[in-house]
Amino acid sequence: MKKKSSFFVWLILIIGMIYFFLPLYATFDFSLRMVKDRLSFEAYRVVFSDPLFYINFGYSLIWSVMTIILSLLLVVPTVYWMHLRLPHWRPTIEFLTLFPFVVPAVVLTFGLIRLYAPFKLLGNPLLLISTYVVLSLPFMFRSVDAGLRAIDVRTLTEAAQSLGAGWPTILLRVIFPNLRVSLLNAIFLTFAITIGEFTVASLLAWESFGVYIRYMGAMRAYEPAALAFIAFGITWGIMGLIQFFGRGTPGQQAQLAGSR
């Protein structure tokens, strides 16, 4: 009986792995066949020597970093205040953060274009970044919320207050350091979402990594496969960083447990 169930567990696992890795392998294999009858990294060489690659990737980096900064500034104080004073607002705020799951990016962007076109704001990068902030909200909110749940926000705040601390000190010395792991999570997830984003950037006519991949896909054969693999590598690298930093310093979890 036990043997049978473990067989099915393995079978499901193997099917899952094939489903996941086979297309990836096919893409990778295809990206190596730019030179006829030989495996080579020619497609990668072409991509990495294309100045457009760097320009577009650079833009995407800028959008990502700006999005992360703006998103942190918006979400952390809001969620902190929600935990401290407005717990009954949680359902409302949580519902609002789910917005990008309900409204597809295309619809959202068309809405933005209709709304902001009369104000001549479409060329403003802030519009793109703000849209990215909205797209990253569910992940940002959830990470920060989970981090704040793990520490006793109210008592720690009050303890700091009774010791003479003002709001900036409380946030910078008490709350942020104890949120380190969840803030890193939020940052990396936001980065992963925005770095390869295509829909919004394309519709708002901005250069970005996503747009570049799409452009190459329409023009070339082997390079898009190489780019897809590179994009995949970046995302995986970020996930690896989350895993690495997410573990935190030794005893971090125990520290959090000890604060309860």
Partner: protein, 362 residues
């Protein structure tokens, strides 16, 4: 003028429901006053108003003559110890204790010196570099106490500081808190729902119920002369009965057909009126020959061995009451179902006023 004055403070969160109502108290310098009451009675809300985490709806709070009613908590010069310790998990013990001094921009040498002093005070020298998660609950709470005291605040507030600890540590730490408070001569307010804790640690106890003060007094007075039924019931164990006044002038009452004498003033009562009386279990004893007053003929219902004392439940008529007797190896205990006579002195019979709290209809 008292050092800490809480003048007629009320707090209502919504119309007509009070968390605290007409709280009036003067605390002298160096005094430890505890607020005792069941959860939701307003004791923590009152403490939080002194700390500045809540603002009173009406009334005034002054410390050393200064009105602090609406001053933000970080400008009050008040130290606070929380039930959940609330040590900063990202900081070492030393950094936790020095946190307030660092914010006050004291020079590093001075901070270090003060931190070492505080660690000596809580008998934890050499712990400065540990993290809170490496300490036991009792140690964490001692560090929290040191952190609250490091700034030499004018008032120390303790919000159920021992509730999260186990029984043995609770008893030893409360003695330590009291000793430190004595040594520093700091004015302190101690919130607890544990009557034994309140009685053992305080100079005075404020018993609260339903947002109001029921009685204020030294522990001895609170225990021996409870003014209201609530205080009598909440502090210690108690036998409370409704008895009939027989002769106000001679202070005679009747309980289930048996007469008893009290030393309390009954001159305002009428014969036939019913009053609430209370007798502590330890005031009863088995009757010896020749005793005539306050004799009850009763039946033994149960005997419970509680270590240092033995609690015996007896009944007569519709009344069941507890009597406590000290344990000793030569104690001759009756058996369940035995008929016996018990007695108590007339001064043990207390008449209870009706407090503002929930009173059982007589």
């Amino acid at each position: 003028m008292a050092f800490l004055e809480i003048n007629n403070v009320s707090k209502s969160f919504s119309k007509n429901t009070f968390a605290v109502q007409d709280f009036d108290l003067r605390v002298d310098k160096g005094e430890l006053v505890s607020f005792l009451g069941p959860s939701g009675c307003g004791k923590t809300t009152t403490l939080r108003m002194v700390a500045g985490f809540e603002t009173p709806s009406t009334g005034k709070i002054t410390v050393n003559g200064e009105d602090i009613t609406f001053r933000p908590p970080n400008q009050r010069d008040v130290g606070m110890v929380f039930q959940a310790y609330a040590l900063f998990p990202n900081m070492t013990v030393g950094d936790n204790i020095g946190f307030g001094l660092k914010i006050a921009k004291k020079p590093p040498e001075q901070i270090k010196k003060r931190v070492d002093e505080m660690l000596d005070l809580i008998h934890m020298p050499g712990y400065a570099d540990r993290y809170p998660y490496q300490l036991s609950g009792g140690q964490q709470q001692r560090v929290a106490l040191a952190r609250a005291l490091a700034l030499s605040p004018q008032v120390l507030l303790l919000d159920e500081p021992l509730s999260a600890l186990d029984a043995k540590i609770r008893v030893s730490l409360r003695a330590e808190i009291r000793a430190i408070q004595h040594k520093l001569g700091i004015t302190a307010i101690y919130v607890t729902h544990d009557q034994e804790e309140a009685l053992s640690i305080s100079d005075r106890v404020v018993v609260m119920n339903n947002a109001r003060i029921e009685q204020v007094g030294p522990p001895f007075e609170i225990y021996n002369f409870p003014k209201t039924e609530f205080v009598a019931q909440f502090v210690g164990t108690l036998n409370a009965f409704s008895a009939e006044v027989v002769d106000p002038a001679r202070q005679t009452l009747r309980l289930e057909g048996q007469f008893l004498q009290t030393q309390e003033d009954l001159s305002k009562r009428r014969a036939g009126e019913r009053v609430m009386i209370a007798i502590r279990p330890e005031r009863f004893s088995f009757a010896t020959d020749g005793k005539k007053d306050n004799l009850f003929n009763c039946t033994i219902e149960s005997i419970t061995f509680l270590g240092s004392i033995v609690r015996i439940q007896v009944s007569f008529g519709r009344v069941t009451l507890n009597m406590d007797t000290f344990n000793n190896p030569h104690l001759e205990l009756p058996k369940i179902g035995d008929k016996t006579q018990i007695t108590c002195s007339s001064e043990a019979v207390l008449i209870l006023e009706q407090g503002d709290g929930q009173i059982k209809p007589l």
